[in-house]
Symmetry: C2
Subunit: 192 residues, 2 copies
């Protein structure tokens, strides 16, 4: 997605070989018009896939997932990082280990909002090692729902996330694929 790649080139900061900061328009400060364009791009790609729900992981996937769900005209479900007191006890649960934060957390989804009739598109902001996406897949499969694919805003293609997901037969559609990072350098994969 050219608009996104251009924005990453101008406003993204490659801190080192692994870390790309996009805090100024994706994660911390959010550019709403870019988010709408991102959601529309996901929706255009997956529009004939019979999607019934868009799922994301709280919290930085919420913005692109919402604009995608809005465009597709289906509900969004937010996979929660910890059980809340006010949620029903009838939850699907799985443990996810985050490489970036060096911590583990529980990912939960109420069984009320997913069923075996659902065909789910997962949207997330980043794909690196694929732990969060794999956790989301596990939760959705526990509900016997089917997976339409995974839409990623920014993929670090030099990390193994995409391979892990593809090896499970999952379609991964990434709007920006980063081939290489280094201080002051952001290199994208050639367009496919």
């Amino acid at each position: 997605m050219k608009l996104l790649e251009d924005k990453i080139r101008t406003d993204g900061v490659a801190v080192n070989e692994n870390i790309l900061k996009v805090d100024s328009f994706i994660n911390h400060q959010v550019d709403p018009s870019l988010m709408l364009a991102i959601g529309e791009e996901f929706a255009a790609h997956f529009k004939n896939h019979g999607i019934t729900k868009v799922a994301t992981i709280e919290s930085s996937g919420i913005a692109p997932a919402l604009t995608c769900a809005m465009t597709l005209g289906v509900p969004m479900i937010i996979l929660k990082k910890q059980p809340s007191k006010t949620l029903n006890s009838d939850l699907y649960q799985t443990i996810v280990t985050s490489y970036t934060k060096g911590t583990s957390y529980e990912l939960t989804l109420s069984s009320k909002y997913i069923s075996s009739d659902d065909h789910v598109l997962i949207i997330d902001d980043f794909l690196a090692n694929g732990e969060a996406a794999t956790g989301a897949l596990r939760l959705i499969r526990k509900a016997h729902a089917t997976i339409a694919g995974i839409g990623i805003v920014i993929e670090k293609s030099f990390q193994p996330g995409r391979e892990k997901l593809i090896s499970q037969g999952i379609e991964v559609f990434s709007l920006a694929r980063i081939k290489k990072l280094d201080v002051g350098t952001i290199e994208f994969m050639d367009e496919e």
Copy 2:
């Protein structure tokens, strides 16, 4: 906001005198068309207030804040509940105690995304005791930015949040004001 009140009447669940579950359309499963209408309602109310940024607290405020920011055509900033490794060390920080969860957390905002030139609208999903909103006010004031007001999706008017905020001279605009909850009963304040 009649559309929202109707939705709360049909799909909200009053668990007891304090807890209203709106998991099926606000918090866990999200209705994107309702969220767009909510954002537009906030934007219509605050459109002549000279707002430069919409701020929210991760994570359930993100959806209504995004649709509001999108409609106003200004950036959204997400106040983060914990510092992330990949954020800059130059942060405004404050401690918030959550009554609902019985825990404290640190709310953070990078100084890069706010300045004394900003006039900020704060959006959140719920207002009850006002701890989160007060924490957000503290952070934004640390940056010497000014506050345009606070937009709330659902206010529990029988709890002290609104009074705490109004007593500081802050305008509180709530789309649904709950006067009383009880098992099976949801009573709204009379329209103002």
